[in-house]
């Protein structure tokens, strides 16, 4: 089907970002000698470990089981012996239970039972069993997203990858086109929808070309305008529907899935393989050879950096995720999770380390905000401790895309204050 033009969206902005790894084919990184698999790689309740120290596991063995509807199974990504189950304070400063597996390099693999039919319910069950979560970064269990209360009519595939530096989705779209296409068809079947839209940013012409070959997909060539990968904005430019404040995409009949999520669904359905690997872009000017990698879950970040040639001298900021929304690490005890899509080593010239100065009321943050909020007011109310007023100015609608702070000439940490306000408002509501 032909390529469709997206609906005009006047907010958001072009960000000058470098994609260093656009032309690097996805490499498979050799398995590390030890993996540290977190039991909480998704939104919701942490999975409960079902193995004990000393147990032999294969690649694809269930090691932690979902505990409730909003949770996900976790599988071993290597074959070997469970050597430890312990709490580790990871690079994001969160204390999480990790299952440590010593690799025996035998390469033994365990598969899920083959599917008997391809009915929608069977497919959803398989996606749940395989432990698939939203791999775009949020980590919401996909099976829960595929069982909406009302019948949907549109499936939107998010191929925007609007963050600078990250290219792993783009490479996958080019290298695994057929598999992604089949994955999309399975997900559409599970949702019982026939209208499928895939949104790809205009700076990926080859990916747009690859997907415009399929007659039952509509490709929307998104403008290079951050944050087109945001769920609500993608829905708007693809269908013209606005997700009302405080509502979810299924309220407007849409379901948005990430490229990597549909690829994982394909693997689970056709290859009977649970989710044990992540596609991740290691990039930034602080790493010697930026690469797109396919890695086993639980691989330490330090080994990823080593595999890419190591850090350069002044690369003092390590970010899990993209430069706009990713989290800076406080230590290197960070291991690849399902939702990871980027690992950036940024040197001092790339990151801004300017101290904040007074807000000069230029209004740029409000003009650029894709959610049409007024970050300067939310920030000043948040810093003054007036969270009620911050909420009145719509703090809860913030998607934390980072555009306000990106554009701020006074270098104010707007995102930080707003997310603080969000946390406090949530606390206030729960307290009542």
């Amino acid at each position: 089907m032909s390529v469709i033009k997206p609906r005009f969206f006047p907010y958001g902005t072009k960000i000058h970002g470098t994609k260093l790894t656009q032309d690097c084919p996805t490499e498979t990184m050799p398995e590390p000698s030890k993996v540290y698999i977190s039991v909480s790689q998704h939104i919701g309740a942490p999975a409960i470990p079902v193995v004990n120290i000393g147990d032999k596991v294969k690649k694809g063995t269930l090691i932690a089981e979902a505990s409730g509807a909003i949770s996900a199974n976790v599988y071993s990504s290597v074959s070997g012996t469970v050597s430890d189950i312990c709490d580790i304070v990871n690079g994001l400063n969160q204390k999480q239970k990790h299952i440590v597996i010593e690799n025996d390099f035998s390469g033994e693999q365990e598969f899920l039972p083959p599917l008997s039919d391809f009915e929608p319910q069977t497919l959803v069950d398989r996606i749940r069993l395989a432990g698939i979560v939203g791999l775009g970064g949020a980590g919401f269990p996909t099976a829960a997203k595929l069982t909406p209360k009302t019948q949907l009519d549109t499936l939107i595939i998010n191929g925007a990858e609007c963050e600078p530096y990250l290219t792993c989705d783009y490479r996958l779209m080019m290298e695994r086109t057929q598999e992604i296409y089949k994955g999309i068809k399975y997900v559409a079947r599970a949702l019982k929808v026939s209208r499928i839209i895939i949104g790809i940013e205009l700076n990926k012409p080859l990916a747009i070309k690859a997907f415009s070959e399929f007659s039952d997909l509509s490709v929307v060539a998104l403008k290079k305008q951050y944050p087109m990968g945001s769920e609500k904005h993608l829905i708007y430019v693809c269908t013209g529907r606005k997700v009302p404040t405080g509502k979810m995409p299924f309220d407007v009949g849409c379901c948005v899935q990430n490229i990597k999520t549909v690829l994982a669904a394909f693997n689970a359905i056709e290859n009977n393989a649970p989710l044990t690997e992540a596609y991740i872009t290691v990039s930034g000017h602080g790493v010697k050879n930026p690469k797109n990698l396919k890695v086993a879950l639980g691989t330490p970040f330090s080994e990823l950096i080593e595999f890419c040639g190591g850090r350069t001298e002044n690369a003092n900021k390590i970010v899990a995720g993209g430069p706009m929304m990713g989290k800076a690490l406080v230590n290197l005890n960070q291991y690849v999770r399902k939702t990871d899509s980027g690992l950036l080593c940024l040197n001092k010239t790339e990151t801004s380390l300017d101290a904040p100065s007074n807000c000069i009321n230029c209004g740029l943050c409000a003009r650029k905000c894709p959610m049409r909020l007024m970050p300067m007011y939310i920030e000043s109310f948040a810093l003054a401790g007036n969270f009620k007023e911050a909420e009145r100015y719509g703090a809860m609608n913030c998607v934390e895309c980072g555009l306000c702070a990106y554009n701020c000439p006074a270098r104010r940490a707007l995102v930080q204050s707003i997310s603080m306000a969000k946390a406090k408002i949530k606390e206030m509501k729960n307290g009542k």
Binding site: S357, I360, A410
Partner: protein, 329 residues
Amino acid sequence: MENNLIYSSSPHVKTKRTTRSIMIDVCIALIPATVMGTIYFGAYALLLVALAVVAAVFGEYLYLLIMKKPFREITREFDFSSVVSGMLIGLTIGTNYPVYTPIFGSLFAVIVVKMLFGGTGKNVVNPAIAGRAFIFISFQWAVGAWLLPNIGSVYGETVATSATAVVDVSKGTVPALSALDMLLGTGMQGCIGETCKLALLAGGIYLAARKVINVIFPLIYIAVAGLTTTIIGGFDVALFLPAILSGGLIIGAIFMATDYTTTPNTRLGNVIYFIALGILTAVLRYATNMETVSFAILLMNLTVPLIDKFIIQKPFGYKKQIKSKGENK
């Protein structure tokens, strides 16, 4: 911290633009007007501007040093906004002003109007305009007769108009100077930087190209002021050009009214602000027979918090919540 890692909140990349770079852009945009002012009115004009700038910067340093901020830190955080204020004060007085006036004006602007309120971004009114108004009100007794520029009228006849040429306009008579003379500022009395409109427009184009100002808003201001004058003058179209090319309207529209701190934060708020400003300028000109751009801006500055209180952007997807949900399809 372990491994010397730097931790900070997202986003980790930012634009190159800072408060300082914006202010330096404004300084660059004011250079053509300063040069033309020097050519027209001689070295004394340049001296006045330089004194204003030096006094403004000195005022900021003095205040911060009294506040016990280390000298090095002040220099590191210096954002050039006081240079902009100083330049504007120097450019909006005439060469008939005594040499000490820009110094008092700048010190008042920077210390009282800006620093006492909390520094850059915290001032309620535009410091440069407040400084100018301070000079205007305090030193009226010391001001001599207005001087004509070194370059005469293009058409050969030098007409001694008033300082701003608006008096004639508000009385409904077109000044004797041609529009071209008014644009170039030749043969016309006036303030150092306000005279050559062409130089100001060049600066305005630079600022618009650098996206420091949104070109729409000064245009709204100038157009509304011109139209209102035309309407007050009994729909005399001949008044339009003299109205916009006389006095300090151009410098006010491009450099003063667009000051970030003292304009509303929303597009709609800005449209309201600049329309009201245009009307107010023209009406005040008519009522007082004086150049009123700076006083109009000062008055409108005070309404900005009010505009910002009532004009707020609605979050994306907000309207749908109020309307019925049947609209989705």
